[in-house]
């Protein structure tokens, strides 16, 4: 390899983009060529300095909120069109809701009911999405439990004073779901208890909190981003079980939890 090749390729070497063979070639050349060795050192130092300078710029807050507002979609658009949005963007939504621009009482009524439907759905979706986000966060190293124990009598008192409710903590080890601990988390901005179970190698987060969002009747199963959510209301509490185990197993978990909750005698 000559200097002309090396002067280009050493950048790829610095950037870690060379395969082993080429990297060896460049290194061999640099070892015998003081000029190129100097180059390599200089550019490495330059790269390190740039990395340290932390050149990435934070987007201005008002830009972020402008974009968030623009992406916060049709609901807001129907209820109150925003002036600040770019014209083509507005136009596409106007086409989408074209039916509602017809000025009849009937279409207005339909539009109103649609807004309600979308808003309500939005809140439930928000909660489902929060549940999955909290679950994902919990799976990161060191985030799963604040109190780590399989003893339900340790987990339950741990929540005292941290929440306005006393979440039921039930050991389901005998039923195939091992209690591994508890954690304080937030869903939709509200503090909730997370009771953590393990099924084989899968983690189940059971979020328990004061009722949130629209009332649920019976059990509501959902799948968000590949995670299954089982949502139900019991004893004046909202419960969401979320896991990557399949919906059938999650349902089994919920049923066993409910059964244990209502089981007579000391649990």
């Amino acid at each position: 390899m000559n200097c002309a090749d090396a002067e280009i390729m050493l950048h790829a070497l610095i950037d870690g983009e060379l395969d082993a063979g080429h990297a060896r070639d460049v290194e061999a050349h640099v070892a015998t060529c003081p000029a190129c060795a100097e180059e390599l050192k200089t550019f490495r130092a330059m790269r390190a300095t740039m990395a340290e300078a932390n050149l990435k710029e934070a987007a201005p807050v008002q830009l972020r909120s402008r974009i968030e507002a623009a992406l916060a979609v049709p609901v807001a658009r129907v209820a109150a069109p925003r002036q600040s949005l770019l014209a083509p963007w507005r136009a596409s939504w106007r086409t989408f809701f074209g039916g509602f621009t017809i000025g009849t009482a009937l279409s207005a009524a339909v539009a109103a009911s649609l807004v309600i439907a979308v808003v309500r759905n939005d809140q439930n979706q928000q909660i489902a999405s929060d549940v999955v986000s909290a679950h994902l966060r919990s799976l990161q190293a060191g985030h799963l439990t604040d109190v780590e124990t399989s003893d339900q009598h340790t987990v339950k008192p741990w929540f005292n004073g941290k929440l306005d409710v006393a979440p039921p903590v039930i050991d389901l080890t005998a039923q195939g779901f091992t209690l591994i601990g508890g954690r304080l988390d937030y869903i939709n901005g509200q503090p909730v208890a997370s009771i953590v179970y393990r099924r084989r190698k899968h983690v189940i987060n059971l979020f328990v909190g004061e009722p949130l969002g629209a009332a649920v009747r019976g059990v509501k199963d959902e799948s968000v981003q590949g995670f299954n959510i089982r949502h139900w209301r019991e004893a004046g509490l909202d419960l969401w079980a979320v896991s990557d185990i399949d919906a059938g197993e999650l349902d089994e978990f919920g049923q066993k939890f409910t059964a244990a909750l209502h089981a007579p005698g000391p649990s």
Binding site: E7, A45, A53, K56, E57, I67, E68, L86, V110
Partner: protein, 206 residues
């Protein structure tokens, strides 16, 4: 005569229409939510590249907003692999379209810069007292930003995408629509130009 008959029919079709539209609205809503979760984490990266492409904070903000709106419109056809380069490619198109609209063609201007850069003798042939001691004296972030911003276009975006956006050569090649080899040589040139500007800036500092 027909009116009483039509009335219930149209009501029924309105109801049917409402269900369909509510369904569509939910789909759209879900799409927007998925897009937000995937794309918003890259806002700082997109904004940073926009700053260097547009060279003006207001224009940069407009370009970023347009980029996100366009990206959402095309989100259905997004198949990966990575969200960041995809957004940056859209941003780059937005910026190019803006320059084309203004008739102030940044890319040809870049070519002129290119020739100029060509005329400059490669820095590594110049006698250098001790380049690495010069670099050991850390330039502050603002100076580095100014030096990067002063680079001619194809080199500027290459170095920003590499050093700030942390894209791989392959990703930069995709965004800029050039072969990987071109990315490699542009980066080599960008760094050589940056170093010579850096040395000058160093000399200017007491």
């Amino acid at each position: 005569m027909l009116a009483p008959l039509q009335q219930p029919m149209s009501a029924a079709s309105w109801m049917a229409g409402r269900d369909t539209m509510a369904g569509e609205a939910n789909d759209e809503h879900d799409k927007a939510r998925r897009f937000r979760d995937a794309a918003l984490p890259h806002l700082d990266d997109v904004f940073t590249l926009a700053r260097y492409l547009m060279r003006n904070p207001t224009d940069a903000e407009d370009a970023v907003q347009e980029c996100y709106l366009r990206a959402l419109r095309h989100f259905d056809s997004y198949r990966g692999p990575a969200m960041k380069p995809w957004l940056l490619a859209i941003l780059r198109n937005v910026c190019n379209a803006e320059f084309a609209r203004r008739g102030r063609q940044e890319t040809p201007a870049g070519l002129a810069d290119d020739e100029q850069a060509e005329a400059t003798p490669p820095i590594w042939q110049e006698p250098q007292a001790s380049p690495e001691t010069a670099l050991l004296r850390q330039q502050d972030g603002d100076t580095i930003r100014r030096l990067v911003a002063a680079l001619p276009q194809p080199f500027r975006e290459a170095i920003v995408m590499r050093e700030i956006n942390d894209l791989s050569y392959h990703e930069i090649a995709e965004v800029a629509g050039v072969p990987v080899g071109t990315v490699m040589s542009r980066l080599a040139r960008a760094r050589a130009m940056l170093r010579s500007a850096w040395t000058v800036a160093e000399g200017a500092t007491p």
